[in-house]
């Protein structure tokens, strides 16, 4: 077997201290009626990041994805401020209350949050991404060139399509790639230059990362864990053990997300390549 530093570090349980690692999809907080989190404190999250060598964790608040954007976005702002350089914030909008959307997004942007998270089944169940209430959200993201991480499960891709085509300043990250209708995810990433595929999926589909790379999407695939709904320690194994070259792993683990998120900072670690 050819030497692969990612696999070596995985077997040893050592942090990936040789390359940039960005977890592009996660949450902070513990407000969920059906999900008793183990211990999602920021200290525990950062300790977990350090064990794996994750530089940056991109998060929205559970409060905000379930419809309390004001409190949740502030929680994100506080995390970004408390751990400088370790958290990237996604703001959410209360989709059910359109009059609140822009004021809260402006406030959150001023508070240092540089991304947008949308989850159509969370904030306001029953309204798809093609509902008019989402238009101000996407217009705001477009006007400020903010990336949008969109929860998807196959069917939402068609709802997003008109906005993907209309708002070209947005880098769209389609979460949970291949949860359903895998060909459509691949089609979108190929067709639209500003669409990226995010990997978080608890089923850890065997061969998916390899298939996306084979499909020519090595520069469009982004690792995300959906922690703390899902364990990042399991999710990262999907990339570390993928049967692809180490350079491709480096792109998927961090370099692609840095581009999609338009991060101004240089990687804090040395590159493997």
């Amino acid at each position: 077997m050819t030497s692969d530093i990612f696999i070596e570090k995985a077997f040893a349980g050592k942090p990936l201290d040789h390359c940039l690692v960005i977890d592009a999809h996660g949450h902070i907080g513990c407000e969920d009626a059906s999900f008793p989190f183990v211990n999602p404190s920021l200290d525990r999250i950062v300790a977990s990041m350090d064990r794996m060598g994750i530089d940056l964790f991109c998060v929205s608040s559970l409060m905000s994805i379930y419809g309390d954007a004001g409190r949740g976005n502030r929680e994100v702002e506080e995390a970004v401020a408390e751990y400088p350089g370790r958290f990237f914030g996604y703001m959410c909008a209360d989709i059910g209350y359109p009059e609140r959307i822009i004021p809260e997004m402006e406030r959150s942007l001023a508070g240092g949050v540089r991304g947008v998270k949308v989850w159509s089944r969370g904030a306001r169940p029953g309204l798809g991404y093609d509902h008019p209430n989402y238009q101000p959200v996407f217009e705001f993201a477009h006007a400020h060139s903010l990336p949008v991480l969109a929860h998807t499960w196959g069917g939402e891709l068609d709802e997003l399509k008109p906005s993907i085509e209309r708002f070209g300043n947005i880098n769209w990250m389609l979460a949970h790639t291949a949860s359903a209708d895998k060909p459509k995810y691949i089609q979108f990433a190929r067709e639209y230059g500003n669409v990226y595929l995010e990997l978080a999926l608890s089923s850890c589909l065997r061969g998916l990362v390899e298939e996306l790379v084979s499909a020519g999407l090595v520069d469009k695939t982004i690792w995300g864990s959906d922690a703390t709904f899902i364990g990042a320690s399991q999710q990262i194994g999907r990339v570390l053990f993928a049967q692809i070259p180490p350079d491709d792993k480096e792109k998927i683990l961090g370099l692609n997300a840095r581009r999609a998120l338009r991060l101004p900072v240089a990687p804090r670690k040395n590159s493997v390549s």
């Binding site: 077997m1 696999i7 995985a10 077997f11 040893a12 349980g13 059906s34 999900f35 008793p36 989190f37 183990v38 211990n39 999602p40 525990r44 300790a47 977990s48 064990r51 794996m52 608890s202 089923s203 850890c204 589909l205 065997r206 061969g207 998916l208 990362v209 298939e211 922690a227 703390t228 709904f229 899902i230 364990g231 990042a232 320690s233 399991q234 999710q235 990262i236 194994g237 999907r238 570390l240 053990f241 993928a242 049967q243």
Partner: protein
């Protein structure tokens, strides 16, 4: 470190899964790639055709292979010619098989003791680990089985990723011989460590989710869990080795 996977299921499904191979040869390749030193292996034919035929195919395919521990699929009525579960388990033990598994949904029987009690009783006497999917059994059946057969080594596969699970934790608290296999789908933030902190390190087994999951996820789930030394070794291989060593052939 030695790694023993406890959940592989070999055998091609009747409906091909594009891009996912599941033959013995493919699994042997996965063992090499993931540096697995051994595995407890089930065969899909047990559910797709019958446990009688599946166990026979399993034994044929694994014959002479080092490091592959066959797990027999059981039903509470046993197998031909006796249809006597005690005789079936004795035949299993006589074949050197030390692990069993059940799929009550596929084989259309109730996992409750009124239907499957004799099976649990003989497995309990022989200290044979019994693998079963949590979602198939359901928490109430797990409780009833473990309560009526407290020495049964019941190991749950497919435990969901729902954090400090409100049903699994009480079950583990009440039933000391209840085990959990950490399959990739048990993708819980700080889950391994919390279970070890709460219940000790001796009740967890390693899973790789073969054939459907990327097996490396199960490995990183353990290696980046924050657990150290003996706890990692117990989960990686020590616990299953102990369970196998405790199986009694003199029942």
């Amino acid at each position: 470190m030695k790694l023993i996977a406890c959940d592989p299921l070999i055998g091609r499904p009747r409906v091909p899964a594009p891009g996912i191979e599941s033959s013995l040869d493919d699994f042997l390749g996965e063992m090499q790639r993931l540096q697995l030193s051994a595995a407890v292996v089930r065969h899909r034919v047990c559910t797709d055709i019958s446990p009688i035929h599946g166990n026979r195919v399993l034994m044929q395919e694994l014959a002479g292979r080092e490091g592959l521990f066959p797990a027999w699929g059981l039903t509470p009525d046993g197998q031909t010619p006796d249809f006597d579960i005690e005789a079936t388990v004795r035949a299993m033990l006589g074949s050197g098989v030390k692990v069993a598994w059940i799929d009550p949904t596929a084989h259309e029987f109730s996992p409750q003791p009124w239907c499957s009690g004799a099976m649990y009783d003989i497995l309990q006497q022989a200290r044979v680990p019994l693998l079963a999917d949590y979602s198939v059994l359901g928490p109430d059946a797990v409780h009833t089985i473990s309560k009526e057969f407290p020495q049964l080594r019941l190991a749950l596969l497919g435990v969901p990723r729902v954090g400090r699970n409100r049903m699994v934790y009480p079950l583990l608290r009440m039933h000391p011989n209840l085990h959990v296999c950490f399959t990739p789908t048990f993708s819980v933030f700080d889950g391994h460590r919390d279970l070890c902190d709460t219940f000790g390190p001796d009740r967890w087994l390693l899973g790789t989710g073969y054939p459907n999951a990327e097996g490396g996820s199960g490995i990183t789930g353990l290696m980046y869990s924050g657990l150290q030394g003996e706890a990692v070794e117990a989960i990686a291989y020590g616990n299953i080795e102990r369970l196998l060593a405790e199986v009694r052939h003199d029942i």
